[in-house]
């Protein structure tokens, strides 16, 4: 007796599947027959549908649920990942191993890993916006539909065009298995039959062979062969390269070749719709390598830049037609590297700038203790620059940023105080340049060390004590950043570097009382260059935390960042240098007379950076002011004003809250010069004996293949010296400089480059000399 029962829902589904198949076959032009009744339909250049019509019957009671379980298993197996895709996923998944389950059998994925691998594939397809319900081969979408129906009884008429599969209980009356099979006599152009094309176990859902058997209905052969086990039994083992092919064992996956074979049987060539991924691979690999550099640098800017680059690459890869396994590898690598970069961002805290400032403050503490005024001022300049960087750093938390800025301000106040308390030397050395108003009295562009004597006169007006000491660098807007979740991993606040043991005056620094700070810089953690960053690196060593109760000088951090609004404030009274220039005379000579018309400039000992290009103003640490200068009057005197904020640049001593006066007395020599051409390949010219007090500086330069020597002299005021007869015997054709007033250059013959440089006080312009038109024509 034969039974067949279908629920209403099953009937509808079955009918829909049949209609889908029929309509697809009618509407789509290209179709083929892969195996008897199996239909392969090309829906488009890169879309193919395979329909397997199967009619089940049984001599036992059977339920429609079984039929739909079979349908589901077939479609899930054939519309999922390919073996090639699984290989890529498994290679990058944790805990996936292959095992040799049978003697001589190729290594297979464990059955227990199968759900995990399938889920990773589905997750990936979801991420890609792809269709996880169809297979993807060569960027073509291949959808397999099991068009199943149940024949109502063994003797009911067979539906033409359907494979006929008998369902049997999985065990006989003795409890022994009935093993599924498919008769394939339709293969290779054999007569089409609708009778008995196979027997499948009806309750085979634990280790079902249905998906494998349906491969035969699509025309695929088995990919296993006979072998002998250790007991001498004949068993089946997978063919070479087919260990995880569904046509070797059911709990595996279809290979790309399986699909190609099915299409080939149907006479359809599978189109390769994939782009060449070489370019992607090259670009991504390069950026992945660059990312490691960024990670190791612990530089937040570099890290963030790499995150942005990789994110952009990821976004471009996702929708593009790249072969799926390669796409998986690329995306997986990018995701891992982005995670590494983010991990680095988190674990490189505090950023390197904080570490640098930490060291600078330590040096500052030492400078205060040693009363080394040069060092104190050097540290002040350094702290100014670091303050700007910290204020602009977006990867710092607000609390940490505020702490760092407060620590810097505190340190600077102490450095200022040290400058005040440390007795200044009686005379300072500053570097000054002089030049006269006429050509022959120009200087040589060489700053001369000049003594500067503190003056006694102090202007009556004194700054408000609470006013800011430095107006140049103000904190930029500090965005409220999320406070780090791991509070215990935060470093000790920089402000806590100051405790009562820190000397406030230069008189303290017993060695044993130095601040309680670590002796070594904590190492910034390196991110391993392995593919994955397994665990977050440990936070850098935290310096010993001093007792905060002993830090009365440390400013308390308010709850909110410093205010970002600025108000105009009258400029503080500058320091004044009273210059007195006199004519230099020979020792023992008559008293020097005032020297007027001298341009006097103050030079910083270390040339400050010029404003950079492409750098935000807030981050500009260069110097963008005019030089400090004055021009002596007829009495040989003038005054130079030095902004107190600029004191460190000129190594002027800082004094807290009040301006300073200085005196600079300088005796300037007379100047003269000349030029002569040197003979080609000749010996070095000799030198004449010069009058007492005369200095000569020579320099050679070339014009074409001719060599010239430029001579510059300084000599005391007094009797005039004619250098022409002195040098003519040694330098044939020696010519003395003309001495005449400055004249403006002809239009366009000499102009600064860029043009706006004419407004700059700093010598940053480039002079372009044009050839005279008449001379050019004469050649």
């Amino acid at each position: 007796m034969t039974f067949g029962r279908l629920s209403g829902r099953a009937k509808v589904l079955s009918a829909m599947a049949r209609w889908t198949a029929i309509c697809a076959a009618l509407l789509i032009g290209t179709s083929g027959v892969a195996q008897a009744q199996t239909k392969v339909i090309r829906d488009g250049e890169c879309a193919i549908t395979i329909i397997i019509p199967i009619e089940f019957y049984s001599q036992e009671p059977i339920f429609s649920d079984t039929v739909h379980k079979i349908k589901n298993q077939i479609e899930r197996a054939w519309n999922g990942p390919t073996t090639e895709m699984i290989d890529h996923i498994a290679a990058r998944a944790d805990g996936i191993q292959k095992s040799e389950t049978r003697t001589g059998a190729p290594a297979e994925y464990r059955a227990t890993d199968r759900p995990k691998l399938n889920q990773l594939y589905r997750d990936f397809m979801k991420l890609m916006g792809g269709n996880p319900n169809c297979a993807t081969v060569n960027c073509c979408q291949i959808c397999v539909i099991a068009d199943v129906r149940l024949r109502m009884g063994d003797d009911a008429p067979k539906t033409p065009g359907y494979h006929q599969i008998e369902l049997k209980p999985d065990k006989d009356k003795d409890g022994k298995w009935v093993r599924s099979y498919v008769r394939r006599y339709q293969l290779l152009g054999g007569p089409q039959s609708t009778s008995g094309t196979g027997v499948w176990n009806a309750e085979d859902d634990y280790w079902p062979a249905w998906a494998h058997e349906s491969g035969h209905l699509m025309g695929l052969p088995d990919h296993y062969h006979d072998s002998t086990d250790e007991n001498g039994n004949t068993i089946s083992i997978g063919d070479e390269g087919h260990a995880n092919d569904i046509m070797n064992r059911n709990l595996a996956w279809p290979t790309e070749n399986d699909f190609k074979e099915i299409l080939k049987i149907a006479g359809i060539d599978i189109t390769n719709c994939c782009k060449d991924p070489t370019r992607y691979i090259e670009v991504v690999n390069r950026e992945l390598r660059t990312s490691y550099t960024a990670i190791n640098s612990c530089n937040p800017d570099d890290i963030n830049r790499q995150i942005a680059v990789l994110t952009a690459q990821r976004a471009s890869i996702v929708p593009d037609n790249i072969t799926l396994p390669v796409k998986y590898d690329l995306i997986n690598s990018i995701d891992i590297q982005i995670a590494n970069l983010k991990n680095a961002l988190e674990n490189c805290q505090p950023p390197r700038i904080i570490e640098i400032t930490y060291q600078t403050i330590k040096i500052g503490i030492d400078a205060v203790g040693s009363c080394d005024r040069d060092l104190v001022q050097e540290v002040m300049l350094k702290l100014d620059a670091e303050r700007v960087q910290i204020a602009a750093n977006r990867s710092l938390g607000a609390d940490e940023k505020f702490d760092a800025l407060s620590a810097i301000d505190t340190m600077k106040a102490r450095l200022e105080k040290a400058l005040q308390d440390c007795p200044p030397k009686e005379a300072f050395t500053v570097y000054t340049g002089f030049e006269g108003g006429i050509w022959c009295t120009y200087g040589f562009g060489i700053p001369l060390p000049i003594s500067l004597v503190p003056g006694d006169d102090v202007p009556a007006k004194v700054d408000q004590p609470n006013s800011s000491q430095y107006d140049v660098f103000r904190p930029t807007t500090i965005e409220r950043m999320p406070v780090p979740a791991k509070a215990d991993q935060r470093r000790t606040p920089l402000s806590e570097l100051f405790d009562t043991n820190v000397p406030d005056t230069p008189k303290l620094p017993p060695v044993g009382d130095t601040p309680n700070v670590p002796s070594q810089t904590p190492e910034t953690p390196k991110i391993p260059t392995a593919e994955k960053t397994p665990d977050a690196p440990k936070a850098p060593g935290t310096p010993k935390t001093p007792d905060t109760s002993k830090t009365p000088d440390t400013p308390k951090a308010p709850d909110t960042p410093p205010p970002t609004t600025t108000t105009e404030k009258p400029a503080p009274i500058p320091d004044t240098i009273f210059v007195k220039a006199s004519e230099a005379v020979l020792q023992g000579g008559q008293t020097s007379t005032p020297l007027g018309g001298q341009n006097v400039k103050l030079f910083p000992p270390n040339k400050p950076d010029l404003p950079g290009t492409g750098i935000k103003t807030a981050q500009d640490t260069g110097f963008n002011k005019d030089p400090v200068e004055c021009k002596t009057g007829a009495d040989g005197s003038c005054e130079m004003k030095v902004d107190r904020n600029d004191r460190p640049y000129y190594r002027l001593p800082g004094r807290y809250g009040r301006p300073n006066n200085y005196r600079m007395g300088v005796d300037l020599p007379r100047k003269d010069g000349g030029v002569a051409e040197l003979p080609k390949d000749g010996p070095s010219p000799g030198k004449p004996e010069l009058p007492p007090g005369t200095n000569a500086i020579d320099d050679t330069f070339k014009i074409g293949d001719r060599t010239f020597m430029r001579l510059a002299f300084t000599f005391p005021y007094g009797p005039n010296i004619d250098f022409h007869p002195l040098y003519t015997p040694f330098l044939k054709g020696y010519e003395t400089d003309y001495c005449r007033d400055k004249q403006p250059g002809p239009p366009l013959d000499a102009q600064p480059e860029p043009p706006r440089a004419i407004d700059n006080g700093l010598p940053s312009g480039t002079v372009k000399l044009h050839r005279a038109a008449s001379r050019a024509r004469g050649r």
């Binding site: 298995w177 008769r183 394939r184 634990y206 280790w207 070797n248």
Partner: protein, 179 residues
Amino acid sequence: MRSPVQRTAAITAAIVLNIFCFLFAFCPALAQAVAVPNDFRVRLVSAPLGPPSPRDGPESVEINGAGLASYSLMRVRDEELPAATANLSRDAVARIYKAIQDERFFDLQPLYRDAEVSDGDQAEMTVTAGGRTFKVRTVNMRVGAFDRIANAIDRELPPERRVKYNALQPTIDYRSVER
């Protein structure tokens, strides 16, 4: 006239004679049991083809002339039976040996296979007797002589230790040959 004692003795002798004659006439297996060679050994293996399953691997039984039957690990319904041994009677061994002789096992072909069937299963029987060893393998085919020997073996085994394969299922539409 015989005395009652004589009559009783005659009747007893007749009964014993009849019993002996009955047994001799109607129990040929017993008669042949003595003919089982000392080196007799038969091994029957059933194994699936293709996708293996942890619940359906090769199953075998091996019986020697002394009646020692060795079973492999077997699966019955949802139960796994471990490898084991049992003793068969000499008559049972004799019946198996007789079936082998009757079906002329040593004259069968070594391999019967329907190449049009994918997957399914196979049976393999190896017999040693009288100094000869011969192995026959059937793959997805009914082979009358072979299957009758297999059935003869299975009849001597408890149901859960029987070695079954598809061709023994009467409703399977395998191709069929006698030998």
